[in-house]
């Protein structure tokens, strides 16, 4: 099975060096770099930038949002509660990816539940103002990058909480006490002791949030506007256009980024926090 997997990855690499004949639409199996050249067309470059930017912000947001819950589980929850909280985090991590995306279709719909509450609290003006920004806005939340961002964070958040929690778990309580004993205020302790020690966990979590956002095509298809993301582009190149070489070449980029990222993360000790 490992052979199948590696073999497939290899054939992906091979395919990225083929090209498609524009006229006949057939894949020409000879070595060329012209498919790679196509990646650097402005349109594709824009797709890369857009996806990477989204992945970056999703990662940052996940890291920030994950902290309170991770910290609570690691340092305050009783043994029993901890088990239940961890189950509460891991269930969405493993289950029903697609359905969880689908749920936001209901929530973000213009006539849906979120709009209802926004109107109820008289915040519709604020939302309109937010959506008016180029780049994050759109005609409604369901059709905007902002909406996508929310869904991405929602979907990948558990992948951040677990490693951060594991890392925090390893911060000995005595260290926190030593810091406050030496005169640090809680916030200082957090900044100087807890945060640095939780960092490998954040890196480990970021492997998932970043990489999974890079490659996702379901969320951009379901939510969001018509602007392509990498995954979406790959999906449509191989699907409707049948251009497997280009699709392959486009995935090699993220794969290369992720492998480098993984190797660095391993150096930083992030794998221990997995």
């Amino acid at each position: 099975m490992l052979v199948v997997y590696l073999g497939s990855l290899f054939s992906l690499l091979i395919n990225s060096f083929y090209y498609i004949d524009d006229f006949s639409g057939l894949i020409i199996r000879e070595f060329t770099l012209r498919t790679y050249a196509q990646i650097f067309t402005p349109a594709n470059r824009e797709i890369f930038t857009r996806t990477a930017t989204m992945a970056f912000f999703v990662t940052i947001a996940s890291a920030v949002i994950s902290f309170p819950l991770a910290y609570y589980i690691a340092k305050y929850a009783s043994r029993r509660l901890k088990t239940w909280l961890l189950i509460g985090v891991t269930i969405p991590l493993w289950s029903s990816y697609l359905v969880r995306v689908y749920s936001w279709k209901l929530i973000l719909a213009q006539e849906g539940i979120l709009s209802y509450f926004i109107n109820l609290f008289g915040l519709s003006g604020f939302l309109k103002w937010l959506l008016s920004f180029e780049g994050i806005g759109g005609s409604s939340l369901a059709l905007s990058p902002l909406g996508m961002f929310i869904v991405f964070v929602y979907i990948w958040l558990p992948y951040m909480i677990i490693p951060v929690q594991t890392a925090l778990e390893r911060v000995p309580n005595s260290l926190v006490e030593a810091s406050s004993d030496l005169g640090a205020k809680p916030l200082q302790t957090f900044r100087t002791v807890i945060l640095p020690m939780a960092f490998p966990g954040v890196i480990a979590g970021s492997i998932f949030t970043f990489s999974l956002t890079l490659g996702d095509f379901i969320i951009p298809l379901a939510i969001g506007n018509s602007k392509f993301f990498i995954g979406q582009a790959v999906y449509s190149y191989q699907g409707t256009a049948g251009n497997i070489p280009l699709a392959a070449a486009m995935t090699i980029g993220p794969v290369a980024i992720m492998i480098v990222y993984l190797l660095i993360a391993r150096k930083l000790g992030a794998f221990d926090a997995l």
Binding site: M1, L12, I65, S66, L69, I91, S96, L214, L274
Partner: protein, 268 residues
Amino acid sequence: MHSKKAPLGLTIAAFGTLLFLHVPMLIIFLYTLTPDETTYTFPLPGFTTKWFGIALQRADLWRSLILSLKVATIATIIALILGTLAAAAVYRSNFFGRESISFLLVLPIALPGIVTGIALRAAIGGFDIPFSFWTIVIGHATFCIVVVYNNVLARLRRTNPSMIEASMDLGANSFQTFRHVVLPNIATALLAGGMLAFALSFDEVIVTTFTAGQQTTLPIWIFSQLNRPRDRPVTNVVATFVILITFIPIFLAQKISAESSDTEGENK
């Protein structure tokens, strides 16, 4: 373990995050009851349970469900066998490539599904293999193996290695040792890994879109509804069903893992 009380703000933020993770799924449950067929209006304009009956009558849904169950079952079985073998090999050996093997085995989770998907697609295309039930199974087995592998390896690492030596010492060969000592000790890890693998396979959509031909698994069916909603209320029912069918094995798997690490803690 110190039993200091958490600051109120932290507690609220923590449980707020937990709610954020779970409420959206509950909203789908709510929408199965809407009589509104064309929009997602909130508050619901009324209540009805007719969609459950309608969903039950849909032959296409039944076909998809059976296909998904079959794929998940077979992928899980393959994963259990190969994942255990891989974990045992990595655990037992000290050979040079050990670290890189375990690194490679993490890749299918760390790399987005689309990479696995397109890679398999390229390979399948390259060998002119027709898309079929089996291509889906192979696709699913790649990530299912990783799950089983990780569960089993973690358990093996917590297993006292002198137990295996003790068994050999008492006259058992490698196979007997595996059967009488190793297998019972990793049984719950296998169970947990198997259930996780099953759940993952059951609602997998990304790899499936690349490895399926004309076959429509349940997630593929939902996915098609995501783009071109035709049967909104029925989709809600199916989504609810998928949540339940994946929720149960995952919940049990997590319970098993939590309990087994608990009892180990007590024995020490």
